[in-house]
Symmetry: C2
Subunit: 257 residues, 2 copies
C-alpha cells in the first residue's frame, strides 16, 4: 500500500451506490468500481445476491434489511454504523436498490456523514421505472402523447400525508408508482376522481430485470382487480399513462353524445 493509499484510507469515505433494479449488468461501471473497492458493504433484501458477489472476498458484508420475525434496522442505526466504519478509515458502500436519489432515503445518510465531516457521494443507478420501460419497450415519454413523466409512491412514512395524486391526472402525463401494489385501489380512485379516464393504459412490471420478472397489461379502471387476479406482489412498478390522444378521443365521444 502506498503512502497515498494509506492517506486516502485514513480519511474514510461513504458512497451511496445505486445497485439498479436487480440484474447485475444494469450496474454502472462506476458502481461496479465502488463495490469492488469497498471495505464494508451494507445491503438489504432488495439488492440482488449476484451483485454482492462482485465485492472483494475480504470485504465486510452487513445485512441491514428485515430478517424473519424481526424489523429492518432503524435508519438512525444505519447512519451511525456507516459513520463509525468510515471513521476507521474504511471505504463504506451503502448499496441502494435502484437509484439512491429516488425513494432511497439518502438524505439521512448524507446528513449523518456531513455532520461528522466524512466525504460522501451518490453513485446514480438505474431506477426501476427506467428498467421497466426498457423491458416492455415502451418509453416513459412519447412525442405528442406524454411530455411529462412522474415517479411517485403508494406508501408514505406513517404520519405523512399521502402524495396528492390529483395533480398527475392530466393529459400528457405518464406516471410510475413505486411501492403501490397494495394501494392500487386508492391510486385508481384518486386518479379517476381527479379526471383521469378509466381507459388509461397501465403496465404492471414486477421484479423487473430479475428471473422472476412479469408483465401484465391492464387499464386504470381494472387495476386493483387485475393485481388481485394475477397475484402481483411488490416489488412492482405500476406504469400508468394518460396520453393526449386518449383525452381527445374522450372529448370527441362526449361532444357527440
Amino acid at each position: 500500500m502506498t503512502q497515498q493509499d494509506l492517506q486516502s484510507r485514513k480519511a474514510g469515505h461513504i458512497a451511496l451506490v445505486g445497485a439498479g433494479p436487480g440484474a447485475r449488468d444494469l450496474l454502472t461501471l462506476r458502481a461496479l468500481e465502488r463495490i469492488q473497492c469497498a471495505d464494508v458493504l451494507l445491503y438489504d433484501r432488495l439488492v440482488d445476491p449476484e451483485i454482492m458477489e462482485l465485492a472483494s472476498p475480504r470485504a465486510e458484508r452487513i445485512y441491514v434489511g428485515k430478517e424473519v420475525g424481526r424489523c429492518a434496522w432503524p435508519q438512525g442505526r444505519i447512519d451511525r454504523l456507516i459513520v463509525a466504519k468510515a471513521r476507521l478509515g474504511l471505504r463504506v458502500v451503502r448499496l441502494k436498490s435502484g437509484d439512491p436519489s429516488i425513494f432511497g432515503r439518502a438524505c439521512e445518510e448524507i446528513a449523518a456523514a456531513r455532520a461528522s465531516g466524512i466525504e460522501v457521494e451518490i453513485v446514480p443507478g438505474i431506477t426501476a421505472a427506467s428498467a421497466a420501460a426498457a423491458s416492455i419497450c415502451h418509453p416513459l415519454t412519447e412525442r405528442g402523447e406524454t411530455d411529462t413523466f412522474a415517479v411517485t409512491t403508494g406508501t408514505c412514512r406513517p404520519g405523512d400525508a399521502n402524495p396528492d395524486r390529483a395533480r398527475l391526472a392530466h393529459p400528457g402525463t405518464s406516471m410510475a408508482f413505486y411501492m403501490a401494489v397494495e394501494r392500487a385501489a386508492v391510486v385508481r380512485d384518486d386518479l379517476i376522481g381527479a379526471g383521469a379516464p378509466a381507459e388509461c393504459p397501465v403496465e404492471i412490471v414486477a421484479s423487473v430485470s430479475t428471473p422472476q420478472e412479469r408483465h401484465v397489461s391492464t387499464t386504470l379502471g381494472a387495476l386493483a382487480e387485475t393485481i388481485a387476479a394475477e397475484g402481483i406482489r411488490n416489488p412492482a412498478i405500476l406504469f400508468v399513462r394518460y396520453p393526449k390522444s386518449l383525452a381527445r378521443a374522450i372529448r370527441g365521444i362526449s361532444a357527440v353524445a
Copy 2:
C-alpha cells in the same frame, strides 16, 4: 464464428442504448457490452467521444446529429437507416444520450423496427436528472419534503402544445426541466402563476458528469436572471423543488400577516 453466431447475425438486431449523461463510467455494463459488440453505431453530438472509443475499431460509425450549417438528420431517415442495416444481418446500436425512455424519441425507431419484423430492445441509461442529483448530492425525492419527482421539457415539437406546468406547482414535488434553459422565464411564470412560491430552490446543473460540469444555486423567482448572468447554456438540468416545509412556512407567514 459458430453456426449459432451466424444465425443470430443473419437476423440482425437493433438496440437503443442509453449512453448516460456523458461520463464513460456512468454507462451500464449492458450498454458497454452492446457497444463493444456493435457492427454499426449511430450517434449524435450529445454522445461523449469517450464512449465512441469503446466500440470495435471495425464498427461502422454514423454521425446523425447536426453538422455546421446543416440540420440534424430527420427522424425518418434514421429510422430507415437502422432498419436497412439490421436487414443486412448487422448488430445496430443507436446511442441515445441519457436514457432512451426519457425524451429519447425511441417510439419512432421501435415502430420502424417492428414494422420490419426486426428484433429491437432498449438498454436503459442514467438520465441527466439522476446524474445531476447525484453530483450535487441532493436526492430527487426527500422523505417528508418531496414525495413526487417529475421530469418534463422546456421545448416541445413545433405545433405541439407546451407541457401543462401548472400541475407540477404543488407542495411535495421536485421537478427536473430538460431542454429548458432558453425557456426559463416561461417555466418560472407558469409555476409561479400556478401558485409555486418564488422562493422555491433551484439547482442548475450544466453539462453534468463531463469536464465542463457546472452548478449554480438560485430560486425560482431569480431563475431567468441567474441563467442570463451566469451564461448557462444547454445541456443543463433545472432542478426545481417545492418542499412541503416551504409551503407550511409560507402559510405561516400569510396567517400572521
